[in-house]
Symmetry: C2
Subunit: 351 residues, 2 copies
């Protein structure tokens, strides 16, 4: 450790401008109560010196805590949301030393109202920024507009909404993710046979993940237009429902050769294939969940696609922090990579 270079701070600016440091501070923070003339002069000096405020001193002196809220689903059924939460906690532990505090608000993925309710609680609590998963179109839109009205910056993760004032979206490029899924399917599918797209979701039209199926179909349209693609919709997420749904489809289409599950429920499908001795079917699905990984190791699931959910949580918090503390400019869209996980590389994957 060694001594730094000469100091170029508010004191020096004040000296050159022949004012007090309080006035310099006012200009730096764009506060009122400075004559136009003085302001101009000080700004010129700041420019000239290429002054960078000392964040350490600034945050120490101001003694302010930054309050951030997160609004994400309660972990349930699958623990997909455990990963973003972990990333959020990692971010928190890194920046809490600099005075950041994070309050979690969880909603129930099968209850729109819980989202709206928790949103209201956040607004009432009065926070400085929000990280959210905009899982319900209408409720999330409403909440986003409320945030905007209150000048609270907000960040989307996992999925996004169009035409909102979100600071940024940090999540997967869903269309291309589905497209890659189709590519992996054909890569491993030398033999003929039909392909099934499996949607397992309680919500009739889960708008969030629609682009995945679009991308999937686009690939076949472009590369194998003659390939028959079956759509398998299963409206319940329990094993019995999934098994029943698949049994029907497989009875009707015995030449089904591959299944693409559009979300993390792929393990349920894998369990069914194992139970009915159909491991030879090619199976691809989403997310690095323990039960999915177990079937990957069994060889029943051939590929898992994953979008680094932990990193989404981490980067979402960091985007808010950088924006609020350093007034850093943030890219409106930050696409996560589309990761391919196999039996061979899974042990080094970290969400």
């Amino acid at each position: 450790m060694e001594k730094p270079t000469e100091y170029m701070g508010v004191k020096e600016i004040a000296r050159r401008a022949n004012v007090s440091i309080a006035t310099v501070d006012r200009v730096i923070h764009n506060r009122t109560g400075v004559s136009k003339k003085t302001r101009t002069k000080i700004m010129a000096i700041i420019e000239e010196l290429n002054y960078q405020p000392n964040i350490l001193a600034s945050r120490l002196a101001s003694r302010k805590t930054l309050h951030l809220a997160i609004l994400i689903p309660q972990s349930q059924e699958t623990d997909f949301w455990a990963a973003p939460l972990k990333g959020i906690q990692r971010a928190e532990s890194e920046i809490k030393q600099y005075g950041v505090q994070i309050s979690p608000y969880h909603f129930d993925l099968s209850d729109k109202h819980s989202f709206a309710e928790q949103g209201k609680r956040i607004l009432a609590a009065g926070v400085d920024g929000v990280l959210l998963a905009p899982s319900f179109l209408e409720e999330a839109t409403q909440f986003s507009q409320d945030c905007q009205k209150n000048n609270i910056p907000f960040v989307y993760i996992d999925s996004t909404l169009p035409h909102q004032a979100n600071l940024c979206y940090i999540g997967p490029p869903l269309y291309q993710s589905g497209y890659l899924g189709a590519r992996l399917l054909t890569f491993g599918l030398a033999r003929p046979g039909k392909v099934g797209v499996v949607n397992i979701s309680k919500e009739v039209a889960n708008y969030n993940y629609l682009p995945i199926e679009e991308g999937f179909r686009a690939f076949f349209r472009e590369h194998q237009p003659e390939k028959e693609i079956l759509r398998v919709d299963i409206g319940q997420t329990d094993y019995a429902s999934v098994a029943a749904g698949l049994a029907v489809v497989l009875a009707t289409h015995p030449d089904l050769a591959a299944l693409f599950v559009t979300n993390s429920r792929v393990s349920t499908v894998a369990t069914f294939l194992e139970a009915t001795n159909r491991q030879h079917l090619l199976l691809i699905g989403y997310d690095f969940l323990p039960e999915n990984v177990a079937h990957l190791r069994q060889g029943t699931i051939d590929f898992l696609i994953c979008h680094q959910p932990e990193e989404q949580g981490y980067r979402g918090i960091m985007a808010l922090y950088q924006s609020l503390v350093f007034s850093a400019s943030i890219d409106k869209v930050h696409f996560m990579p589309i990761d391919i996980i196999t039996e061979e590389n899974h042990e080094f994957y970290r969400n």
Copy 2:
């Protein structure tokens, strides 16, 4: 932003212990000059209060700059090393506000002596920590031991050395990476034919990447022991040499169906395959370099394997920072994930 909770700092500790804050400071930093009795008493209070020093105040008051050095190859031929450098710079921009300064030292990958020389310069400059690529067995061992003697923590990236006092290794699990390469090869290789492992390197025995080939061969030994694997060694990295080497092999073994290039020079092989109309050969290689990506998009390269070199640089610096500033404990080995890059997902990959 809101007011924080009540203060629990050195002042409070000093009050409770009935000493001055200077003495408290001495205990906190484990300095000499405190009676055993006082020390014990203060430590108990610190324990009781679960005191966490305010890093902001600490670094502001100490006015010290942390000097880190990086010792990595000069970017040349390929720009593989541009990526770690980028990650290092990203880390620097994040922590320079907290008084960290990074000095780059570059060596020539085809000149061991340049490594030793730059290492000496670093030692002479007297730094607080070093991030290095231990590219030369003997020289890197020597340098590591010198660092240890001087109590300078050092971190390895990209490859590692056994039995050294490095703070940690941040890089790929090479053996498993080669193993995955073989898996991808067989996945796409429905047809029969021989498989070639291509080593393109000026160094006769590039110890760094040997485990890749071992892992590759292990997969075939375990899954397809009858498969014939050719070894193709090319001692020069220019296109003419590579083309000549490949031409000979392909003439002798016309049934060669797939090539696995153990490093980032795979684009040279791709160029040759394109020039001789052999795009149908399966081709897998390493690293997300522009020229490799170009051949991936052409379809000549089927898969690129990559180990997030930018992240290696970033995390390497952060490990040093966390260790030096926060005395954080660091995992000795941090394996990077083994990423699979295809034509379909490459645009979202960021090293």
